[in-house]
């Protein structure tokens, strides 16, 4: 067993951290307040080649794994950029995965190099208002007509849809068979045709800088060649995106927790009340120490799941566990950090408040804590399915 990062991974951490930290907390506060997309930040990462981290080298990327993408996203989050900084970048990391693994050569040649440079802005369309986590019951339909599919339906929680040029889209191409509910779903990688897709932004608790949306698809035409993998097997192809998504979002929560913890520790050393730094009080110190320990633990689980994925091994249980533990650890760290700051924790200019709002997301998305526990109960512990 070897827990050491390679020299290259160390350098990735260091340089991502330096680049991300060149955008100070005030930048993110302003983006959050004005609900402005962080174009400058994404451009800086595009120029330095980070968007191509998992795109294979023959398609213009760097061909690294979920491990390296996770290290990158962790350090973006930990820089204080939080979810506002991670979300635009992670869309270059897990949505392309099914295309890389299952896409045709034509599809890969056409799109992957443009994803690597950041020319393509990705969105991801799986969740639906009437299906939620019950993905097999999605209602968006794709009907074959000649050399193309015609898609109609609705999706919700489409991040980036205000600016997206392309989207990964899951739609039903055959009626739901209760015996094999996940068959008959097809995955598409397609252009975001705004003449056929209407986008409505959803105002939300955190991450105002990066839009979440509801989209209405009305007669979207998708050429046959834009099917990812096999028609009818889209859900299974999507799993290659969902496990990395859990790992990457999990480690983002760890990074956000660390950003908040670092602020809290500085504050606890400097803030003098009753003639002593407040960090001298165990009631202040212990929650921070506990947060540190849990963040370390959560990071290990994320990196283990990433390692399994990168080595082509099953990682469903581990990816889910990583997301579960990381979302808790990240939230507890932000909450302890906010509490440490007292009243100032509630003030925007101390930056913990934004992180606290952002980190709450990870207990809900990309999958709720409860559904993770269901997954572990059923698929790891083999207990009877509860729903």
């Amino acid at each position: 067993m070897d827990f050491a990062l390679t020299e290259q991974q160390e350098l990735i951490r260091k340089e991502v951290s330096a680049l991300a930290r060149s955008f100070p907390p005030e930048y993110w506060l302003e983006k959050d307040t004005k609900a402005e997309y962080p174009f400058e930040f994404v451009k800086a990462f595009a120029q330095a080649g980070w968007l191509g981290v998992i795109i294979p080298e023959e398609y213009g990327g760097s061909g690294l794994g979920v491990t390296e993408a996770s290290l990158m996203l962790h350090d973006i989050a930990a820089s204080g950029a939080g979810t506002s900084g991670c979300s635009p970048i992670h869309f270059y990391c897990f949505p392309p995965m099914p295309v890389i693994k299952h896409g045709s050569e034509t599809l890969k040649r056409k799109y992957l190099p443009r994803i690597a440079t950041g020319e393509i802005v990705m969105s991801f369309g799986v969740t639906e208002p009437n299906a939620g986590t019950d993905t097999s019951r999605i209602q968006t339909r794709a009907e074959a007509k000649g050399d193309r599919f015609i898609v109609n339906g609705r999706k919700v929680w489409n991040t980036n849809a205000q600016n997206a040029t392309h989207t990964l889209l899951l739609a039903r191409t055959a009626p739901r068979d209760p015996a094999k509910p996940f068959k008959g779903l097809t995955l598409f990688f397609t252009e975001f045709d705004r003449t056929k897709i209407t986008v409505r932004v959803i105002e939300k608790l955190g991450r105002a800088a990066v839009d979440s949306n509801e989209i209405y698809i009305d007669g979207l035409e998708i050429p046959m060649e834009n099917v990812v993998g096999e028609v009818g097997s889209g859900f299974y192809h999507l799993l290659d995106s969902l496990n990395p998504e859990r790992v990457m979002t999990g480690i983002e929560a760890v990074g956000i927790g660390r950003a908040a913890l670092a602020r809290a520790v500085d504050y606890a050393k400097e803030r003098i009340v009753f003639d002593r730094p407040i960090g001298q009080n165990q009631a202040v110190a212990h929650p921070l120490a506990m947060a540190w320990a849990k963040l370390e633990t959560a990071e290990l689980m994320c990196l283990k799941a990433a390692w399994l994925f990168d080595h082509g091994q099953p990682c469903g249980a581990e990816s889910n566990a990583a997301k579960l533990i990381a979302a808790e650890a990240g939230f507890e760290a932000c909450d302890a950090a906010l509490q440490t700051h007292g009243g100032y924790g509630y003030a925007k200019e101390f930056h913990v408040e934004r992180l606290w709002r952002e980190v709450r997301l990870y207990k809900i998305a990309p999958v709720s804590q409860q559904m993770v526990l269901n997954h572990i109960s059923e698929h790891v512990l083999h207990l009877p399915k509860s729903y």
Binding site: Q8, L19, S22, G49, S62
Partner: protein, 259 residues
């Protein structure tokens, strides 16, 4: 054109440096190490010169322990072509003059047309190595440069160096040693491809004996390091404004002798 860039690994600017149990050294436990920021200007300028001329080679060199290799790896990730690591326990306590002599030996072996370095390392802030290196080599030197233009034949360089209220402009024959001031350029961030490529670039390990340095006798030695005295706590003068001001003035005059 071949350019040699001398770089140093230093504690991160955000590090709270503490003195170790050995009062002549700092406690290096838990320190994050970075390339000295002024050296990054030097690396960037060397890369720009190479890019502008469309050919050339940029060689990074450092003197330091094993961990200093990270600094060279960063320089390679930024775009330097190869690196030289002068790594010898005999040089562990090198003063600026010893460092300059070791670097001069590297320069003699490599024979670059230009040596660039930062105006000072931000750890001990001596700011001496660049000028001492030029002196050992017998080369001209300009410190704290804000701009440079090399002529087409790479025979001379015109430099502007920062002085009070303006620039002092010199024409200097090459080879020469230049030290970089903040403002010379904006250093690039290494690209991911640069980082991946850095792994394949050569870092040559060099010992003092490889440089023909037989006896190493520092001319400076550190007697002791002292932390700054703790700042005495502030004092709040209570009472209403009229009395408090009187007491403040008295205290400034008699206790602090400030007025």
């Amino acid at each position: 054109m071949k350019i040699l860039v001398a770089v140093k690994q230093v504690p991160d600017t955000a590090t709270q440096v503490k003195i170790s149990s050995d009062p002549k050294a700092i406690d290096t436990a838990g320190i994050t190490w970075i390339v000295s920021p002024y050296d990054e200007f030097a690396i960037e300028e060397a890369l720009r010169i190479k890019e502008k001329r469309g050919q050339g080679e940029v060689v990074a060199v450092t003197l330091g322990p094993d961990r200093a290799k990270e600094t060279l790896r960063s320089a390679l990730a930024m775009g330097c072509d190869r690196a030289i690591h002068v790594n010898d326990p005999a040089l562990a306590n090198a003063d600026t003059m010893t460092t300059a002599r070791a670097l001069a030996a590297v320069v003699k072996q490599e024979a670059p047309q230009l040596v660039l370095c930062g105006r000072q390392a931000i750890d001990d802030d001596a700011g001496a190595v660049g000028a001492q290196l030029a002196e050992v080599l017998g080369w001209p030197c300009a410190s704290w440069i804000m701009e440079e233009t090399i002529d087409a034949d790479a025979k001379t360089v015109r430099v502007g160096r920062q002085v009070e209220g303006g620039l002092e402009v010199f024409d200097i024959p090459l080879p020469a040693v230049l030290s970089a001031q903040k403002g010379l350029n904006e250093p690039r961030y290494p690209t991911l491809k640069g980082i991946m490529g850095a792994k394949k670039k050569e870092i040559k390990d060099v010992k003092a004996s490889d440089l023909g340095l037989s006896s190493i006798t520092p001319e400076l030695s550190i007697t002791a390091l002292e932390a700054l005295p703790a700042r005495p706590p502030g004092r709040i003068i209570p009472g209403d404004v009229k009395d408090a001001v009187k007491e403040l003035v008295r205290s400034l005059r008699e206790d602090a002798k400030a007025i």
